[in-house]
Symmetry: C2
Subunit: 359 residues, 2 copies
């Protein structure tokens, strides 16, 4: 049985750990909110389970706990942000804030970020636009784990895209997905349970299909959304490449196989082509296109129509992007967040090493 | 054997047909260029094969051959364009021009279009940005043929996305793909040859998998990129939904099941929620992020690295998005464009009805 923790207790613990790393108080609080939003939304692979990973990167001096985040280039609707090697959990919200400010003046704002680190879940950042009646977008590149169609080399990350679109009476539309058939977090779940993966998720180091969830340890790779050429994996490859180029070639970060790994036991490439990892954010003011109430009425109509669509026999409902995560978030805010033994052990270790209470 | 026609002869014929429809001379020329760019790039389903379809829509008074295309709302980086029911082949280039002009001043330009029609291939429009050292984006919604994950109803079009990114010495990166497992044009090829489709492209009207390429005539549907839930079809659904909302809910066009059909024998829905079909265009000035020569050097490096990636045994090379279409375009410009018998027959019919020479 997983042990269940209240949101408040995980917040207190996480914030204290970021404090110990040397994060300023406001940044420790922000990083905690971003990180735990993943646990709340049920994306367990990207939440507190990664806390010790961030810590090890900081111990290896690959994260700057007190960064000076600054705009290094801008126009009325764009900016490039240098994250100064900070936590992506802190750099990304700052960049999204800049995108929103640009959108207020210019209609839209687009911010490319270099010299950053893993930023948690993309959806959190995109959703920051909603309260301003804006559409939010967020994407990031990541450690190379994915082989382009026809390749055996791992050249792309799972490079997620998030799009958050405000509605009126309906909850917002929030899409947030890796551009691979399955996110790495889904593979990790199978690894822990010693289960096989479906054909189409991973390939062996020679490119043959594999169902071994541990295949990546032996030089295998994740596969772009589509699974194989006949089912459109070249489109998933296009999506992952697009995210990589917007996040890193526009900003001056590392791209493709040069993206530094998240895990501290792997060294960053010796020949970097840029600074850190890269993100890309967008904010579009809805009323830069049509009156916000009109837009939201039509979004309500769109969402209502799709949600009430006739289903395949046996399927309870057609989902609107963001439905499962919102429902999970409501439930976990109320009932607490379950953590598997392996994560609890890991956090107990962190607590002991850094003399922080975990309970 | 397909008959082969020179580009010049198809241009002459197509332009003359658009003239007969009542298009002003410059618009007839533009529509011809856009339409035939599909044939040149090997996307035969979207080229001259559709000419008689446009004509029938015009005969049914569902296309305005002499539209007044105008901006109805704008900010420094955005605009909404009313296409006045014109050919998408004419409305879309005008909208992309506006996006490019906005980007010159504000760094980026984003244009949503309502009251338009089918715009040919998305890639053509995105690529217009390249000559300005800009990244171009184009998307459009389309007649509902696609069932969201778990649904049996057709609520989305094949809603393509195109992204064109300039490089230096390398040819540009040009991604252009339907957000379904397979584009409708691929299905049409199987229909003509009476071949089965792979599992994962289409479903029966009750949602069961089907390999019958004619399934859509019996209430079946195309499937979002990913093929099934286990392989990420919910991500393809997110992509198609995103294109639909940006193209139509932002602009005031029809969305989802209300998008009017391309074929003239099907009536538009009696209860429209907007005007015509919708598109969305973007232009991002590369030097709104970093100096253009720096960006292009890194794009050359990105493209070079991916193109030289080690391949799976038996696969000749890893492709860069846009490679096959560019090579096809070079070959067909030189050697001519092959048309299948059915298309030739169709065009001979058009030629005879409108008294235009076709040879």
């Amino acid at each position: 049985m997983d042990k269940v923790y209240s949101l408040a207790s995980l917040q207190k613990f996480t914030k204290e750990v970021f404090n110990r790393m040397g994060c300023p108080a406001d940044q420790a609080e922000l990083a905690t909110e971003v990180l735990l939003s993943a646990d709340l939304r049920g994306i367990d692979s990207h939440g507190i389970a990664r806390l010790s990973g961030y810590l090890r990167l900081w111990e290896a001096k690959r994260i700057n706990a007190n960064p000076v985040i600054r705009v290094v280039h801008e126009t009325p609707s764009t900016a490039v942000v240098d994250g100064d090697g900070g936590l992506g959990l802190v750099v990304a919200p700052k960049a999204m804030e800049i995108a929103i400010a640009k959108a207020k003046n210019a209609g839209t704002g687009w911010v490319a970020v270099k010299n950053s680190n893993h930023f948690g879940i993309a959806g959190y950042h995109a959703m920051k636009a909603l309260q301003h009646d804006m559409i939010g977008m967020a994407m990031t590149n990541a450690s190379p784990l994915v082989a382009p169609t026809f390749a055996v080399e791992r050249l792309l990350g799972t490079n997620p895209i998030a799009v958050a679109i405000p509605a009126g009476k309906q909850p917002a539309f929030v899409a947030d997905f890796a551009t691979t058939t399955a996110a790495n977090g889904k593979l990790e779940i199978l690894q822990r349970k010693n289960l096989d993966a479906p054909v189409g998720w991973i390939q062996k180091k020679n490119g043959e299909p594999s169902t071994n969830a541990h295949e990546l340890k032996d030089g295998g790779a994740l596969i772009p959304l589509g699974s194989d050429r006949e089912h459109g994996s070249h489109k998933g490859y296009c999506l992952g490449a697009w995210v990589d180029i917007f996040s890193a070639v526009l900003s001056g970060a590392n791209y493709g196989p040069w993206v530094p790994p998240f895990v501290s036991f792997l060294s960053p490439p010796a020949d970097p082509v840029g600074d850190g990892i890269g993100h890309f954010f967008g904010a579009l003011r809805v009323d830069a296109f049509r009156p916000a109430n009109e837009f939201k009425d039509h979004m309500d109509n769109w969402i209502g129509r799709f949600r009430s669509a006739k289903t395949i026999d046996g399927e309870p409902r057609v989902l609107i992007p963001g439905d499962p995560e919102r429902e999970m978030s409501e439930a976990r805010t109320k009932n607490g967040i379950p953590l598997i033994d392996k994560v609890v052990e890991d956090l107990v270790g962190v607590a002991s090493k850094y003399n922080v209470q975990f309970s």
